[in-house]
Amino acid sequence: MDLNFTAEELAFRAEIRSWVAQNLPQDISHKVHNALRLSRDDHQRWAQILGAKGWLGWNWPKAFGGPGWNAVERHLFEEELALAGAPRVIPFGPVMVAPVIMAFGSPEQQQRFLPGIASGQVWWSQGYSEPGSGSDLASLKTRAESVGDHYIVTGQKTWTTLAQHGDWIFCLVRTSNEGKPQTGISFLLIDMKSPGVTVRPIVLLDGEAEVNEVWFDGVKVPAENLVGEENKGWTYAKYLLAHERTNIADVNRAKRELERLKRIAKAEGVYEDQRFRDQIAQLEVDIVALEMMVLRVLSAEKSGKQSLDVAGLLKIRGSEIQQRYSELMMQAAGPYATPFVSDAMEAGWQGDHIGAAHCAPLASTYFNMRKTTIYGGSNEVQRNIVAQTVLG
């Protein structure tokens, strides 16, 4: 047992750190450090900088042009990016659909789609949830009918994150009503510029259009865009979930936000208030404990032994902590958290800030963070999964 990183791991981290310091645009990290609005261009610029270095697919194996890092190296990379104030990489392309294409896609699909994902040129979205299928995802109804050399897709997806920017979308679609709901689902790649695709943004409680409804009205999709076999999509989706792994705890971001919380608490005069300070202390403990749990999972993964049964806990705990720090930041601002001046969340806004500039986004972020215990399998669904592993 050893809590220290090896000399090689430390050298690796130093290399990442210095590269990020030189290559992460400061206007972007300024926005991230201050929770200001990020544009599509911000995301794309950063993705393409990473892509040019070959690091947008940082979790990819060498065979597909990735760096082939182990679990600990991937973690260190993610940590350096988060602490430096890099935007979260939009995961749908490099983290989600790419591993599925690598594992189950045809060589043609791999050649066609992976380069655009690796370079950050193509923005992918994820078409999973439907109005009638949230936690019970397998009940999805969006239908793909096989007609000759293509499918005709009809139905509706919802909660599709940032699909307003999307070039392509990977969808779970129903190709059969036979047997169990899970066995009639296929994994389909759809060009969002196809006729019949309509995207309508949904404004969330923070006033931002972060998610969308996506309609498919008789959309013609070439049969060659089916990943793997027809009716095996559920298996691929589960593989995808397993691939999200530890970063779902987002502990690196939590560390960055803990620093921000302390800055805000100081500026707002509550850092020396013992009752407030103790709550920060508790959050510190919670973050250390989460980080230790993440490191245990990484260590088990790196050693190649059986993975720990704690992975399912990471999403629950990580999301609770995200909510907690955003809550404490809002509380720190007190009455100055109440104004809702949307323009004040824009970098470089020249208007009069109410209280202080750092107060402007706090309540919005707090409201926005309620999503974390809902998306990606609600925390109640996660508890079902944990209970299943514990109780059988």
Binding site: M1, D2, L3, N4, F5, T6, E9, V72, E79, K255, R256, L258, E259, K262, R263, Q274, R277, D278, I280, A281, Q282, E284, V285, I287, V288, A289, L290, E291, M292, M293, L295, R296, L298, S299, A300, K302, S303, K305, V310, L313, I316, R317, E380, Q382, R383, N384, V386, A387, V390, L391, G392
Partner: protein
């Protein structure tokens, strides 16, 4: 970055577990508790296994093992709900004596290693709560030696220890002294504790004592951190055991014609219990691995660990009793004993408000978490 145990550590774990399986079933624990919590019988068996030599330096007849080995043993003792003052006698006392500036350690350490002597720290005072720097006991020079006077509370192992390590104020600062059980001027009043063990009140009235170190406070802080790491590991073992019992029960016990484990309200509770157990285990590792850090980092880390362990111990203890229903609150069933031991661990060496205060005090502007 590595959380794997070595083959030797796994063998050590197995040896302790084997002894627990053979010699320390719940009936024995129950019997010992009912009989008043005698400490020496089981402690002697641990000595026969060689465990009391674990943390004693090799030069004094010990094995000189490190914190990870101590953690492994404590986890297994917890998993067996073993009633013996092992942390106090075999981990904390040797750590203090090995650091002493005088020859007292040379005298006692070999006897601690072979188990012939049980030495425990007697630091608790009525007005101190968890503040190690508050000490009313006093020492005065007496010819070649010293005499100590004062009242120490809730001292582990009751009146079965052979000697006590006693903090007392000497020339304005805390020093540590060794006082034998049979010292003139020492009165011992033993009593049972909630978890089926024993403790004692010690009243020193000009009792003769030997100086161990004048760096008393620093040593006490070190003792506290060793004890927290040990208790954390023990708590993990007890929680593991309690959770296993609870899962068995939920899968066996039927109500409304089905196993309790089919009810989602209970399943979600089990998921929450599992969460607290694993957070606790993670912070137990953290506590042990941070013992070798420089003082400031070490103390902050151990306080952080104790907070998590306290919270995990309470949650897992309370919820597992609740998940059992009526049988959970009976004396005849092991769950209540696990719960009581977890509760005593929470109350020892700093409760949650105390350590939150410590973490608050030591807070850094940076994230201040592990990196």
């Amino acid at each position: 970055m590595d959380f794997e145990f070595t083959q030797d550590q796994l063998s050590l774990r197995e040896a302790v577990a084997r002894w627990v399986g053979k010699a320390h079933g719940f009936d024995r624990r129950h019997g010992l508790a009912k009989a008043g919590g005698a400490a020496r019988e089981v402690y002697g068996e641990l000595a026969e296994l060689g465990l009391t030599a674990l943390a004693v330096p090799e030069a004094q007849g010990g094995m000189g093992f490190g914190p990870v080995e101590a953690m492994v043993v404590m986890e297994e003792l917890g998993r067996g709900l073993v009633s013996a003052p092992f942390a106090a006698g075999a981990l904390v006392a040797p750590a203090l004596l090995a650091q002493g500036e005088t020859s007292v350690g040379q005298t006692w350490l070999p006897r601690i290693a072979d188990g012939s002597a049980l030495v425990v720290l007697a630091h608790q005072e009525r007005a101190a709560r968890y503040e190690l720097s508050r000490c009313a006991a006093e020492a005065v020079a007496d010819g070649q030696g010293w005499q100590i006077s004062g009242h120490k509370s809730v001292v582990p192992a009751g009146d079965e220890a052979d000697a006590f390590i006693v903090p007392a104020v000497l020339d304005g600062s805390i020093a540590l002294f060794m006082a034998a059980r049979d010292a003139k001027g020492l009165q011992v009043q033993a009593y049972p504790t909630q978890d089926g063990a024993q403790a004692a009140e010690l009243r020193f009235e000009k009792a003769p004592a030997a100086l161990i170190t004048r760096e008393g406070l620093k040593s006490l802080e070190w003792a506290q951190d060793i004890a927290i790491a040990a208790l954390a590991a023990e708590a993990v073992g007890v929680m593991d055991r309690l959770v296993a019992t609870t899962i068995d029960y939920l899968n066996t016990r039927k109500q409304f014609g089905v196993a309790l484990s089919t009810f989602q309200a209970l399943r979600h509770r089990v998921a929450d219990v599992k969460m607290q157990l694993e957070l606790g285990r993670s912070m137990s590792y953290y506590a042990t691995l941070k013992l070798s850090e420089p003082t400031a980092q070490r103390r902050r880390a151990l306080s952080q660990a104790k907070i998590q362990i306290n919270q995990s111990a309470r949650f897992v203890g309370q919820q597992c009793v609740q998940l059992h229903g009526g049988i959970g609150v009976t004396d005849e069933y092991s769950a209540s004993h696990d719960f009581k031991r977890l509760t005593m661990i929470e109350m020892a060496w700093g409760d949650t408000p105390h350590h939150l205060g410590q973490v608050s005090q030591r807070m850094q502007d940076s994230a201040g978490v592990f990196a």
